[in-house]
């Protein structure tokens, strides 16, 4: 056994442990850890190091951790091509870097290490994605509500006295789609987290899907009742926002360490999607939103919009015609002159 470090499987002696070094596998799981009982500590591929790291991108004597002036721990980068990254900052061979007292993440070649020091701030205990009953009540209610909404929707679309077989697509389809969605995410979890977390993803999907459904169910008729087209136009972007948030939560369940990357990716994807959709709409209709008459008509009892008189509405045609005239002018400017190239 090396003098400075010992493996956790050996008899622990908590009193004289100065630090703990955790070595991560490539998939992000912790592979092994070593207690540090004295400084300096050497890291490298050669056998005479305190912690021997078997990675082809690591030098024989890659780095040394030692106490510097004032008793502060510092990193001495050894004779290495690849150098050492402390957190996000990369250091070349020969550099001397003071280390923060609460510990740091080190990248040596292809190996990721975590140096834990006594002053570290421990994250609070995280609850297990437990199967405890209390954790299932919320999703269960959300699931029931979602099914009820889907049933209502399907009921609306069927004529009275419809064949029972007409319910099959809904009764079979909804569970199949929902299960499929969660299975795919659970497989992703299995890949990155080594855990087939079906229930975890189900608990994420149900409330968000319910919220997306409810938004449409409430805002669309509300917009129709109040005669507010802008509210109707908000429904789709809000639904998109909720869907993005749902995806983010799924992704965070799969890749809990990569919060920033996930958020950046989703925001970029949502922005790109919105931009493409706006551009397509603009090409087709010369506007960035479809005509609002696609919205729901209000129920007679809930028709709260303030009506205008017919002459008032007709007056609004003049500015519309002006806009169109401008559009025509632009179209003419864009067009090549008549008979170009064939004048003789």
């Amino acid at each position: 056994m090396e003098p400075g470090a010992e493996h956790e499987s050996d008899q622990p002696q908590r009193q004289d442990r100065l630090a703990l070094i955790e070595v991560f596998e490539r998939d992000g799981r912790m592979g092994r850890s070593a207690s540090v009982r004295r400084w300096p500590l050497t890291l490298g591929r050669a056998l005479d190091n305190d912690v021997v790291l078997d990675d082809p991108h690591i030098a024989a004597h890659h780095a040394t951790l030692q106490l510097g002036g004032g008793g502060r721990l510092q990193l001495q980068v050894g004779d290495s091509i690849n150098g050492v990254s402390v957190g996000q900052v990369h250091h070349k061979a020969g550099a001397q870097v003071p280390l923060p007292p609460e510990g740091a993440t080190l990248q040596l070649g292809g190996v990721k290490l975590r140096l834990r020091l006594p002053q570290e701030r421990l994250a609070p205990e995280r609850a297990l994605p437990a199967l405890a009953r209390a954790h299932l009540v919320g999703p269960l209610i959300a699931g029931l509500a979602l099914v009820l909404l889907a049933l209502l929707d399907h009921w609306l679309s069927l004529d009275p006295g419809a064949d029972a077989a007409a319910w099959l697509p809904m009764v079979v389809g909804l569970p199949v789609v929902l299960t499929g969605w969660c299975v795919l995410w659970a497989l992703a979890s299995k890949l990155f987290q080594h855990r087939f977390d079906f229930l975890g993803h189900l608990r994420i999907a149900l409330p968000w899907l319910l919220a997306i459904e409810l938004l449409d169910l409430v805002l669309t008729p509300l917009a129709a009742s109040l005669g507010w087209p802008w509210l109707w136009r908000l429904v789709a972007p809000l639904q998109l926002l909720l869907a993005v948030l749902m995806l983010r939560q799924h992704l965070m369940q799969v890749l809990p360490q990569s919060g920033r990357v996930v958020t950046t990716f989703l925001v970029a994807a949502a922005l790109a999607g919105t931009a493409i959709s706006l551009a397509m709409t603009q090409r087709a209709t010369d506007r960035y939103s479809r005509p609002a008459y696609m919205s729901t008509l209000p129920l007679p009892a809930l028709n709260l919009s303030r009506p205008v008189s017919a002459p008032q509405l007709v007056q609004e045609l003049a500015p519309l015609a002006e806009q169109l005239a401008a559009r025509v002018k632009k179209a003419r400017e864009d067009e090549p002159p008549e008979g170009e190239g064939s004048r003789d």
Binding site: P160, P291, T296, N303, V308, L320, A321, R327, V328
Partner: protein, 499 residues
């Protein structure tokens, strides 16, 4: 939009864009090919057609020896009959073919506007050429046209080959032709060769906005612009169109607009610039006239128990009705589609200058209020406005809740002044080349009924902004409560009405 197929009014222009193009682009040819199976495969090359046709004719025989009226008419008109071709300037291949005839000793000739429309719209890319029965050819100039009645007046660049051929005489205005009289239509169908088609004069087409004559004979593509003559060889009308869903239902432009065009266009300088401004001017006149006459007519009532629904008079429109079968479990509806026959040809894909009005009356008593609203909404939402295309901009719409104007009940008894809540959408599209002309769509849905409702749509094509406003107002004014309705406990109208 469901339109009963048997009765749709598809008036085919008789323009023959070479036989191959006809096969591809019109509904007409399958039937035509079936009746004349030998035509297509043995069609001679186009420039040879006139020569072949003339060769097939016996050398001009003295008129006295001719027995049949058709023979006599053809023999007399033969020198005055022409084929009018539009050629692409760059490659000399014909892009459309029609017929024409000389109307004076100066060799002015008349054909349809649609025969020369490509030249009128793109004079720098096309040129016009005539071919006579005896194989003479020469360049033509366009002097004037009447886009509304589909007529054009032309003149040869060099009048000498056409000099001394006489002219087709116009039948006098006051000399009405009796229905059933024999008339003869001449032209060069499908570029096959000059031909006479005998048929009957059946008077003016009923319910047509523009004066059009009904010719009970066969017209084919390529005969457009040819003359239809009475037994004395005088002009009754100009071949213009045919219906392909019937037999021997063809149409002629009457002689009056021909006379007017000759009078105003004979001294004109040739047209060398794209004719969009002149077309716009003529369409503006037409739309003003159309709007005036449309608004002057009161709406008919649709006979709905609760609502007054605007349905146009059938003076020059045709309405078709359709309903769901009685046994339907779901939403029941009745619809009415009213359309004008007369549409104005501007260029191949662009027809304008007409109005359509339709409505759907829904009864959801068998499905309940919630289901009714779901179907009623989606029916309102699936109306199509039209996207940006070559000729028109995309539609721009305004949408409002509207209270229909107060309507005084019929008769002098207790006049009712109640308003009907409506949802109204008005969309406009502007023509890119016809400056100042618009297409308008007005969409209306009644909003008061839990399980009843009416949705109406009026489309007006090729109108000015002022006309659009007047027509929209006129249409919205057509919606109201039915003053004769019985007290209906389910309808809020009953409550408001009994105030």
């Amino acid at each position: 939009m469901l339109v009963p197929l048997v009765s749709t009014l598809i008036v085919q222009s008789l323009i023959a864009r070479s036989l191959i193009a006809m096969v591809a682009c019109t509904l007409a040819l399958p039937a035509l090919a079936a009746s004349t199976p030998a035509v297509a495969p043995t069609l001679p090359a186009a420039p040879a057609a006139a020569a072949a046709a003339s060769a097939a004719q016996p050398a001009s025989a003295p008129e006295a020896t001719l027995t049949g009226a058709g023979q006599r008419i053809y023999e007399r008109t033969r020198p005055r009959l022409l084929q009018v071709r539009t050629l692409l300037k760059t490659q000399d291949s014909q892009s459309s073919v029609g017929s024409g005839f000389l109307i004076d000793e100066d060799a002015h000739l008349i054909t349809n506007y649609h025969v020369v429309s490509q030249y009128a719209l793109q004079p720098t890319r096309h040129r016009l050429v005539y071919a006579t029965v005896d194989g003479k050819q020469g360049a033509l100039q366009l002097l004037a046209f009447d886009v509304v009645h589909d007529l054009a007046l032309l003149k040869p660049v060099d009048a000498t080959p056409l000099a001394g051929r006489g002219a087709v005489e116009l039948r006098p205005q006051n000399d009405a032709l009796p229905r059933g009289a024999r008339i003869f239509s001449l032209g060069n169908p499908l570029d096959v060769g000059f031909a006479v088609a005998e048929g009957n004069y059946n008077g003016p087409v009923e319910r047509s906005f523009l004066p059009t004559l009904f010719f009970g004979g066969s017209l084919s593509g390529g005969m457009s612009g040819g003359p239809a003559l009475d037994e004395q060889g005088r002009l009754v009308g100009v071949n213009v169109a045919a219906r392909r869903d019937g037999e021997q239902v063809s149409f002629l432009v009457p002689a009056d607009p021909v006379r007017a065009l000759i009078a105003r266009g004979r001294g004109n300088a040739p047209i060398t610039e794209p004719a969009w401004p002149e077309i716009t001017r003529q369409l503006m006149q037409h739309e003003a006239n159309l709007t005036e006459r449309f608004i002057a007519q009161p709406w008919r009532n649709a006979g709905h128990p609760i609502y007054t629904i605007p349905v146009p008079q059938e003076t020059w429109m045709r309405c078709w009705g359709q309903g769901t079968p009685q046994a339907t479990r779901g939403l029941q509806f009745e619809r009415s589609d009213c359309e004008m026959d007369s549409r104005i040809f501007v260029s191949g894909p662009l027809l304008t200058g007409y109005i359509t009005v339709r409505h759907e009356a829904y009864d959801g008593s068998r499905i309940g209020a919630l289901r009714f609203m779901e179907r009623y909404s989606s029916s309102f939402g699936n109306e199509f406005v039209g996207q940006d295309d070559r000729f028109r901009t995309a539609g721009q719409c305004v949408e409002r809740s509207v209270s229909a104007a107060a309507r005084v009940g019929n008769g002098s008894k207790a006049a009712r002044t109640t308003t009907l809540p409506l949802k109204a959408v008005i969309c406009l599209r502007a023509y890119k080349k016809l400056e100042g002309l618009l297409d308008m769509m007005v969409l209306v849905a009644t909003l008061d009924g839990k399980t009843t409702g009416v949705q109406g749509r009026m489309d007006a094509h090729g109108i000015s902004l002022a006309s659009a406003q007047r027509l929209a107002q006129h249409y919205l004014d057509g919606f109201a409560w039915n003053p004769a309705q019985n007290t209906n406990p389910t309808s809020p109208s009953a409550k408001t009405a009994s105030r």
